[in-house]
Symmetry: C2
Subunit: 236 residues, 2 copies
């Protein structure tokens, strides 16, 4: 099922899919690509870390970092002193406006795919790749919303069950926003794709699924007596 | 424990640590950085996917991909038609020799860190970041070694228990190598770092560890009868 999106396939923000662009149409395995908003959101909401790519002094940098999503916008945060945060606040080479060109990628590894042939070994995975300009969030209201989203991304509901940032903490934190415009998802699922002529080879073939979920909670050693595990943690 | 590596700390390939460089010394949280070879190898050997960053038409790209390690060299592979593989085989802008400037990052998320304050929410993680030039592997012997390493990275021992690549498959596959020279590891472990004045707040605080390991094997639906689960899978 080879699908070749065309540029007439433009999507408005209200439509069900992102419009493919040159940067979001893979050269290989196009049948694994999707532009569906719901699939993209689901992949983004399930992961904890994104890999944020940007260019510093002419070299690529790939930084693992936490993120949060509010509708069609992602947020990442960091110290006001960190390099990508500072870079996003000043115009970069060849640009008039501030903003940092980024590629933000989120990946889940779901299983190890063991084929009869070495060639067809693979991973089952789901990933999202976003291209765009990351901009510093300067509006205090949006900054608060973004920081809540970052905490709620770790555990939904947690932002209302922790002490909100104070003025000093807010001043020390910079937030970048990245709009979900140029976006694609990619996934591999299912059994190995062995060649017909390999079917009788004496090698085990199949998928080793990676375990998901959480282990037992580790309360802080100095947790005050009488503080119980909140429902949003007990129910998982 | 703030450690500030200096440039006098140069490491030879035989030494226990990588030499820090401007690109591998973080501006923030330097106490989390390490240059120890053993720690770096352990982080690399435990993960399945790396995020490969490179520059294409002036924009950063972050691609999730499988990798393998042989000593102080990493390998990634792909179709000979894939963009980064092609780019690594030709001299890039401003370069005389072929090779693609990359940043390769590997990250494990180990736990969710729930502090009493929103500000101190974090993740426990281990990551490795490598800067360097990725080069196409042209020596047939090294290519074979690299492809074995990629399969054995998925499941150790698997390359000797599957059909090796044939001439057609070898010709369709390109392999890039990246030497471990400019390398750093970063990790956060342990309990939340709450502020002393927050200790009596009525919020649960602690770590939610992410579950690791594997779920039950899913054999290929067409697996021939009599093929048993190999020891290297049964023992995990």
């Amino acid at each position: 099922m080879q699908t070749t999106p065309t540029t007439t396939d433009t999507a408005s923000p209200g439509s069900a899919a992102y419009a493919p662009t040159d940067r979001t149409v893979p050269t290989r395995a196009r049948e694994r690509a999707s532009y569906d908003r719901e699939s993209v959101h689901a992949i983004l909401d399930e992961a904890y870390v994104c890999h944020l790519g940007f260019i510093r002094d002419g070299s690529p940098v790939v930084l693992p970092t936490l993120y949060g999503r509010v509708g069609e916008r992602l947020y990442v945060h960091g110290s006001t002193g960190s390099r990508p945060l500072r870079m996003a606040g000043t115009p970069q080479e060849g640009q008039e406006d501030p903003g940092l060109q980024v590629c933000l990628t989120v990946t889940h590894v779901d299983g190890l795919v063991l084929a009869r042939s070495a060639f067809h070994h693979s991973l089952n995975y789901r990933s999202v790749m976003i291209h765009g300009i990351a901009r510093q969030v300067t509006d205090p209201e949006e900054k608060r919303t973004a920081l809540d989203a970052l905490v709620d991304h770790v555990v939904p509901g947690r932002s209302t069950d922790s002490r909100p940032a104070n003025a000093k903490e807010l001043a020390a934190t910079a937030v970048l926003s990245l709009d979900l415009n140029e976006v694609s998802a990619k996934a591999r699922t299912g059994a190995p794709n062995d060649e017909p002529e390999d079917m009788d080879l004496p090698y085990w073939s199949g998928v080793v699924p990676l375990r998901k979920g959480y282990d037992a909670l580790v309360p802080s050693p100095d947790l005050a007596p009488g503080i119980e595990v909140p429902d949003y943690l007990a129910e998982r």
